[in-house]
């Protein structure tokens, strides 16, 4: 295998997959950091987003990309609604109960997808797409657009968190919740804003995975482990960390086929998760440990 083949067969798919993981992991790290619990319904919310985009596309008969913003908006609303209905009343009880509630929500979201859209796999677009060559690197259009979309999302989110008043309030809440409250930040607003952003990110992750792979009712559940591995690897609460972690997990999964049978790709994330918890639980960029 030449070097360029290695890049094209392992690194390119790894970066594409990893950037999708990153979008999901950023949401996980935000919930972990600001609301302080592991959100187990994250993957199934992504599934829901992917299917909403599918229906939108069917409705307008257009490119799947029109489905992305619609799905992001719907998923944001769903996430806020889920919080109000199922998580909010557990606010003052031990956080682990919210984790449990989120596992129940995962199951509920998935069964809604299964009832509404069925259990069979589907895709946004049929047919084989040939990749184009850019300086020897083979990229399909959808892969290129995926990378662009992820870059846009990450840059936009970073700008929001660094520059805007409410973005700073979210960071403050993640950093020191008591002091944020003493400074007059309303916890409920930050919580709602966080869920809106996280829901939108979920939908984006689900859409991009569906675009580069396929859609089925279990797709999001299988995203859960790599997303958590990425978030913890990068450092809980760190957006840049989740991006880095996502890319590492994605590339590691694509490289794992060199030494492991293909069906164990999914085990890579698990191994990374256990290793990072063992040697550096704060993650690469020194995040939080709950």
């Amino acid at each position: 295998m030449t070097f360029i083949d290695f890049i094209n067969f392992h690194i390119v798919p790894g970066v594409v997959l990893g950037s999708i993981y990153a979008v999901g992991a950023i949401g996980i790290t935000m919930v972990f950091g600001i609301l302080r619990f592991a959100h187990l319904a994250h993957g199934d919310l992504a599934t829901m987003g992917a299917f909403i985009a599918l229906s939108t596309m069917g409705l307008f008969g257009a490119s799947p990309w029109v489905g992305l913003p619609v799905a992001m908006i719907f998923a944001a609303a769903i996430a806020v609604g889920i919080d109000k209905t199922f998580y909010d009343y557990l606010r003052d009880r031990p956080k682990i109960l919210t984790v449990m509630a989120s596992l129940g929500v995962a199951l509920m979201l998935r069964s809604v997808v299964q009832v509404v859209w069925g259990v069979d796999s589907t895709t946004y677009q049929r047919g084989i797409v040939r990749p184009d060559e850019y300086f020897g690197i083979l990229l399909r259009d959808r892969e290129l657009y995926t990378l662009l979309a992820v870059a846009t999302i990450v840059i936009g989110l970073e700008a929001f968190l660094r520059k805007s008043k409410w973005g700073k309030a979210m960071r403050a809440m993640s950093d020191n919740p008591d002091l944020a409250r003493l400074s007059g930040v309303d916890n409920r607003h930050v919580t709602m804003l966080t869920w809106a952003i996280v829901g939108a990110l979920c939908a984006a992750a689900g859409f991009l995975l569906g675009l580069n792979n396929e859609l089925n009712s279990m797709m999001g559940w299988h995203l859960l482990l790599p997303m958590f591995a990425a978030a913890i690897l990068g450092g809980v609460g760190r957006v840049e960390g989740a991006l880095l972690g996502g890319l590492i997990v994605g590339i590691a999964e694509e490289l794992s086929v060199l030494i492991l049978p293909g069906q164990y790709k999914a085990a890579t994330a698990f191994v990374i998760l256990l290793l990072i918890l063992l040697v550096r639980p704060r993650g690469l960029l020194n995040g939080k440990v709950l």
Binding site: K165, K168, A169, R171, A172, S174, D175, N176, D178, L179, A180, R181, L182, S183, G184, V185, D186
Partner: protein, 235 residues
């Protein structure tokens, strides 16, 4: 001179037990009031009572003409009271300037004057405005914490042991700044471990023990009191 803050026989605690068993403290406008007392006396708890972080079961807290007993901290902040907790009092992963911005979270309009004021009080921080608060030294971190609280332009500033763990040099500096803040028109309620130094520089002082008032008076009077000296000032 009518009091800005007046706690009258306040009782209350975190759970069912009353930690405060009748605490009365007044702070006049432009006054530095120091609270001293042994560890666990309820000094921090008294301060939290003012800020609405405690379940107050008896007594009254009046501030600037309002009965603020039982108000939520949010509302008290807006009324003009700011609080610097004893620990975890900065946003470590945010820059010095962002800490100040968070301090002004509730404020609308032009903040240039407010920034000028805090950077004027803490000139060392001007050069460090882009540094993460968590990376600063303990003394500078304490200044960031005070600056954050001053951004709202409070009438009353509550400082819980701002000099804990600081070198004497920084302690002097914090006291000097506290006086400057007072001179800019802010009343200050200060909890201190370093009783001797604090009583020497304050306007008036209170000695708390086991959740109740024990002594009160001007700093000089308390320093001269033999009983106070024996109990809290190490002879």
């Amino acid at each position: 001179m009518s009091a800005l803050l007046s706690m009258q026989a306040v009782r209350g605690g975190y759970g069912d037990a009353d930690i405060l068993q009748g605490v009365s403290i007044t702070v006049a406008p432009r006054e530095i009031v120091v609270i001293v007392g042994p560890n666990g006396a309820g000094k921090s708890t008294a301060m939290k009572a003012v800020f609405g972080l405690l379940h107050v079961r008896g007594g009254q807290i009046l501030f600037d003409g309002d009965d603020i007993t039982g108000w939520a901290p949010n509302r008290i902040v807006k009324r003009g009271v700011c609080y610097v907790p004893q620990v975890d009092n900065v946003f470590r992963e945010m820059t010095v300037h962002e800490n100040f911005e968070m301090g002004a979270f509730l404020r609308k309009g032009d903040l240039d004057a407010a920034y000028d004021r805090v950077y004027g009080l803490f000139p060392d921080l001007r050069a460090k405005r882009k540094a993460l608060a968590g990376d600063l030294s303990g003394g500078q971190r304490q200044m960031v914490a005070m600056g954050r609280a001053l951004m709202l332009d409070p009438k009353l500033l509550l400082l819980d042991e701002p000099t804990a763990g600081l070198s004497p040099k920084y302690m002097e500096q914090i006291f000097t700044i506290t006086r400057d803040v007072r001179d800019s028109g802010v009343s200050i309620m200060l909890v201190e471990q370093h009783a001797k130094q604090a009583l020497a520089f304050c306007d008036r002082g209170y000695v708390l023990a086991t959740g109740a008032n024990r002594h009160e008076g001007t700093g000089a009077a308390l320093l001269a009191d033999r009983e106070v000296a024996q109990m809290f000032l190490g002879g």
